[in-house]
């Protein structure tokens, strides 16, 4: 069956080769690749320290800059989560933790983790570093704009952090920033705090748009010879689709930020209805709070996939490389990524089942939401089917991939609970939701990020990270995080609402005191384990084993640069020419168990390659 398909495919390829070889060359040449369409890219080479390392136009340096900045914000988010857990587990320990500070921490933690850590890290960090390398370009197509993109992001982070120091402190409106509460007294930081948050988000969107245009055009228009879309590694597919989502979803965030800023500063009433405070009506009238929620979640749901899709892509590649096996069902994986991306624009109101919107929307959005579950589940099957009959290296990278599968499946399934509108009614706005999204978009993508860092660290620095420390890091993080969030679902069943500063003495909540203490302790341990990781990073940077070229025996282009780590311009004299997809592992008949993308068919004549 598949052999037949295979022959058909080969025949088609031959036909294509003929037609595109109209110029007369390569009719018999099995190594034929269309000639270059584009001239060499013109690059600016920095000379001074400043143009080489600070205002640098090299996507790889920008990627590292993005990564470091994002990780810095992540550490801030982590510390905030520690303090929150301190309050929830041991409420009497720190009297200076007031409700105000608690809500400010919740808000900053949520926003930092979702936007400034995960989005920036996956797209700005991994995107910048990997896209040009993996598609065989010398750099992003607009290096200057790319550089500005990072500095915009940097300013956005500075503005965000500045809000910790303004009068009133950062906003405490919850990361969803729901008006009217977000800009009214009664919510901490409703003065400067929320304003800085909105400004920072707007800057982020502008900066991201600059970067995002680069990623998209580089992938669409600057691939190297032979690199067709269906030969791209799934990492690139994930980042590409996520970037397109971001370019179409961030506008809603920008618009809602602008409108809320006006509501705050000029007292317009976009989102503000009549409000009675202390017996008097404020000057607002006639606005619609639910409109904000629609705008926010029109951004917010795709945002979830902006984080998830690059993770999907990266983890596919990691699993494939380290189980020495082609990714199972590549085409299905690509279509699933694209399909999930497209569908993600039609599910946003599943966050609003009990928001008071027209209840009839419930039917539509529950249906679309559960439809998304199908391609998502298929991706999971394909990951485990890639492991199946593989030759699995159980190293740190693979461990993180396995951890990803467990946490992602767990969180995905609780997502089906919440997407199924009637089930969401008792569970929404409880700790079940907190547990769900931490599992699926907190821990699972973090697993991928760690795996990816262990995987690509040798490429970036030329040295391997310490495996032993890596394994410790994995087990403490994975087991710890799992034991934080798995039991937490049950708090939600009890009915404990989220964003509660203190549980108080409700009869059915007192039973959860023990669990809260346990969760807090686990959170401290998990947080502390990250310092193993940082130590490993710093140590390996100087003392790690030299990695040499292509330490993992991978196929994709980033490992095939003439210099390791790759230098500015990536490819030295000549751009690589691609002859196959990135997953030719364990091909029967081939000498090695992997065939890099640049290997021409004539070099591996005996290999029985199926897909090219």
């Amino acid at each position: 069956m598949s052999d037949e398909l295979n022959i058909n495919k080969k025949r088609k390829n031959q036909i294509k080769t003929k037609s595109s070889a109209a110029s007369g060359r390569g009719e018999t040449d099995i190594d034929y690749v269309r000639p270059a369409e584009l001239p060499e890219q013109d690059l600016y080479h920095g000379h001074s320290f400043i143009t080489k390392w600070i205002f640098c136009q090299d996507a790889k340096v920008i990627g590292v800059q993005y990564t470091l900045t994002a990780v810095f914000t992540g550490v801030v988010g982590l510390i905030l989560s520690w303090m929150m857990r301190m309050q929830l587990g041991f409420p009497d320990l720190f009297p200076f933790l007031t409700a105000e500070t608690y809500y400010q921490m919740v808000t900053m933690h949520g926003m930092i983790m979702v936007v400034y850590l995960l989005t920036a890290l996956f797209l700005g960090g991994f995107g910048n570093y990997l896209i040009p390398l993996m598609v065989g370009a010398r750099d992003m197509v607009f290096p200057y704009v790319n550089m500005i993109s990072f500095w915009m992001f940097f300013v956005a982070v500075v503005v965000l952090m500045a809000s910790f120091f303004v009068p009133g402190g950062p906003t405490g409106s919850g990361w969803t920033l729901y008006p009217p509460q977000a800009i009214l007294e009664g919510t901490p930081g409703s003065g400067y705090g929320i304003l800085l948050m909105l400004i920072s988000l707007s800057l982020f969107v502008i900066g991201f748009t600059m970067g995002g245009l680069n990623y998209v055009i580089t992938i669409l228009q600057a691939r190297t010879r032979g690199m067709s879309l269906m030969r791209m590694p799934l990492t690139i597919w994930g980042i590409f689709t996520a970037t397109v989502l971001a370019l179409l979803a961030f506008p809603a965030l920008l618009v809602s930020s602008i409108m809320m800023t006006l509501d705050k500063v000029l007292e317009t009433s976009f989102f503000m209805p009549t409000i009675i405070k202390a017996g008097e009506a404020l000057s607002y009238d006639g606005g619609s709070p639910i409109l904000f929620q629609h705008l926010f979640w029109f951004f917010g749901h795709p945002e979830v996939y902006i984080v998830a899709l690059p993770a999907f892509g990266i983890v596919s590649d990691l699993i494939s490389v380290h189980s020495r096996k082609n990714i199972f069902g590549y085409r299905m994986m690509v279509w699933a990524i694209v399909g999930i991306g497209a569908l993600s624009f039609f599910v946003w109101a599943h966050h609003m089942y009990v928001s008071g919107m027209s209840p009839w929307f419930g039917f539509f959005f529950a249906t679309t939401t559960l439809i998304i579950a199908v391609p998502t589940a298929l991706k999971v099957y394909n990951w485990i089917l890639t492991l199946w009959r593989g030759n699995i290296r159980i190293n740190t990278v693979m461990l993180f991939c396995l951890g990803f599968i467990v946490t992602f499946v767990n969180g995905g399934i609780t997502g089906i609970f919440l997407g199924n509108v009637a089930v969401d009614v008792p569970l929404s706005d409880t700790y079940f939701v907190i547990a769900h999204f931490h599992m699926v978009m907190g821990i699972a993508p973090l697993m991928v990020i760690f795996g990816a860092i262990y995987h690509w660290f040798p490429l970036v620095t030329g040295r391997l990270m310490d495996e032993k420390l890596g394994k410790w890091h994995f087990w403490v993080t994975f087991l710890g995080a799992y034991s934080i969030y798995f039991p937490m679902h049950y708090l939600g069943f009890i009915g404990v609402p989220r964003r509660y500063f203190e549980m108080y003495d409700s009869p059915y909540m007192t039973s959860a005191v023990g669990m809260n203490e346990f969760i807090s302790v686990a959170a401290f341990i998990v947080g502390a384990a990250q310092f193993i990781f940082f130590y490993n990073l710093v140590k390996s940077l100087r003392l790690g084993k030299p990695a040499g070229k292509n330490p993992w025996k991978a196929n994709s282009l980033e490992w095939l640069t003439p210099d390791v780590p790759p230098t500015h311009g990536n490819w030295g004299e000549k751009l690589p020419v691609v002859h196959r997809w990135a997953y030719d592992y364990g091909v029967p008949g081939a000498k090695e168990d992997y065939i890099p993308q640049t290997t021409a068919p004539s070099e591996v004549k005996d290999a029985e390659v199926e897909k090219t």
């Binding site: 294509k16 595109s20 109209a22 110029s23 690749v33 269309r34 000639p35 270059a36 369409e37 584009l38 001239p39 013109d42 600016y44 197509v141 607009f142 200057y144 704009v145 748009t209 995002g212 245009l213 680069n214 998209v216 055009i217 669409l220 228009q221 600057a222 691939r223 190297t224 010879r225 690199m227 067709s228 879309l229 269906m230 030969r231 370019l247 179409l248 979803a249 961030f250 506008p251 809603a252 920008l254 618009v255 809602s256 602008i258 409108m259 006006l262 000029l266 007292e267 317009t268 009433s269 976009f270 000057s283 009238d285 006639g286 606005g287 619609s288 409109l291 629609h294 705008l295 691609v578």
Partner: protein, 235 residues
């Protein structure tokens, strides 16, 4: 752009699927900058759509009566209020500037430095006129009619809020366009696009395709205005 046998590629639907299946570029022969502008405009379309959808939603649900645009936007001519007079002129000017922009692009293709430069300049002046008239309209609404973003004498207060926000956002787009048009007019006259002089910031070579890219942006801004016009002044 050095395109290899681009004309020989098959056209139509077959050509499209082949392009997508091929290596190197998905949109054959499309310059990077141009592709970028298209994607950016797509994103920007979403921005304006969000604004307009929010406007429609609020206008549909607000309780207080919505002001009559033909009254609010009337201009008094010799004692008779003529509805939409100013807007008609503004729209006319902006659409005309799209025409001059198209001519500029045409002459850019022909590498006709002089004509291209003049038409870019003319477009810039058209845009500037538009912004000027918008400033006049705003000041009339604010100082004469007492419309504020937070209140107005005609009815629902969201009217002023949305009006200032959306036309302001569009006006900002026009203003940015005008600034670039002036810069580019200077570049054209100086001959940057003929000599391929390198950009001050980007250090990249200049090319006449930049005029076309700017043209795309300008036409987009124009198109958005048509929608704003329809939603604010005619609805």
């Amino acid at each position: 752009m050095s395109d290899l046998n681009l004309d020989k590629l098959p056209g139509g639907f077959k050509g499209m699927s082949e392009d997508i299946g091929s290596d190197q570029t998905t949109f054959k022969g499309v310059n990077w900058g141009k592709a970028m502008m298209w994607i950016f405009l797509l994103s920007d379309t979403f921005v304006f759509s969000c604004f307009l959808v929010a406007y429609m939603k609020v206008r549909a649900s607000v309780v207080e009566p919505w002001p009559y645009p033909s009254e609010v936007f009337a201009l008094e001519m010799m004692g008779v209020p003529v509805p939409l007079l100013l807007i008609a002129i503004m729209t006319f000017v902006l659409i005309t500037s799209s025409g001059t922009m198209a001519l500029a692009v045409k002459y850019g293709y022909e590498k006709n430095r002089k004509m291209c430069g003049w038409f870019v300049l003319l477009t810039a002046i058209g845009g500037l006129t538009f912004v000027g008239m918008q400033a006049f309209e705003w000041s009339k609404l604010i100082f004469h009619d007492g419309v504020r973003p937070w209140a107005n004498p005609f009815g629902a207060e969201q009217f002023g809020a949305f009006f200032f926000m959306i036309t302001g956002f569009h006006g900002t787009h026009v203003s940015i366009g005008v600034i670039f048009l002036f810069i580019f007019a200077r570049k054209v006259f100086r001959g940057d696009f003929d000599t391929g002089r390198r950009g001050y910031f980007t250090t990249m070579k200049s090319d006449y395709v930049a005029i076309e890219i700017l043209g795309l942006y300008w036409h987009f801004v124009d198109l958005v205005w048509v929608f704003i016009f329809a939603f604010f002044y005619l609805w």
